[in-house]
Symmetry: C3
Subunit: 134 residues, 3 copies
Amino acid sequence: MSKLESIDVQTGTHLEFVDITGAVKDFVGCSGVNDGICLVYTPHTTAGITINENADPAVTADMSAFLKKKYPHESYFTHMEGNTPSHIMSSLFSASETLIIQNGRLLLGRWQGIYFCEFDGPRNRKVYLKVVSG
Amino acid sequence: MSKLESIDVQTGTHLEFVDITGAVKDFVGCSGVNDGICLVYTPHTTAGITINENADPAVTADMSAFLKKKYPHESYFTHMEGNTPSHIMSSLFSASETLIIQNGRLLLGRWQGIYFCEFDGPRNRKVYLKVVSG
Amino acid sequence: MSKLESIDVQTGTHLEFVDITGAVKDFVGCSGVNDGICLVYTPHTTAGITINENADPAVTADMSAFLKKKYPHESYFTHMEGNTPSHIMSSLFSASETLIIQNGRLLLGRWQGIYFCEFDGPRNRKVYLKVVSG
């Protein structure tokens, strides 16, 4: 009946969308919260959380291809680590998403899945899951 | 005194910002929540929720024109349905916005309105409204 | 032990990221909330809130340079005030971020800072901080 948990995500490539819907559903089911909200939050500054289609894997594959093409390294970037594009994507996608819990379950749309967005992998990453009842 | 409701939005064009501020205000007023937060959430993967100016309609008209121009179909997209740009905009705008409730009312800025963002219309859409007191 | 506060931010340039992490931490510490969430919300339509690295100032400097270059005024914009790019950035970054409170403190990643994003400065701005326990 924990209200806060962390899950580990191991990414395999530089830019990747990892479906964590199952883990979030499991956590909400075990939390004992019947009605409320669930915050899915990543503590990294070159990663993000997003909600998008998880029926056709081509959707996230297209998003990855788009991001690689449209957010390249630019000659005027000064951040020594060289991963400014990863930081920009992190801010544009944002560190979290908030979802609704109804009757003890996540209220997701038919095609919606929850993704951890890796923008600077491969790395070992964390995602925090937090429920608030109400 | 419901804590969760859904509203229907009928969109008329492919890319459109529909002002739903009035409906969110009405829901918060009827919810009986005096202080807390309100989550405005759409369960679709080719739509989003955003907050922006609702005084001059040119603002959202300019945003629509900008999105059409900057997020076209790309030759390397593989999603068979052909609406990858709509999915990308959905992730960039995000599926929800969270607002503050103070003294039984939404705490909005003077120029802020809440918009349902249609990125693949026209369609019949849903928006969920959820309050949490605290 | 207030659950809602506003802070003032004075920006100095047109496009700027102001680190407000300390103010949010102070508010959470004084709120008396041990476990819950904290919503950081700006009521302006040409500004935003984001979370990103605050160790190397080059990260936000690069983001500012990128935004200026990629979101210029376009000839087809019709909003008379002439600040459509600022409104677009506001929607892309979003008006708020939600954070986790654990044991009376913000649960931030090692490199994460919270930023007020000025997209149309210099101006006097406001940020609302709201805690919900749970």
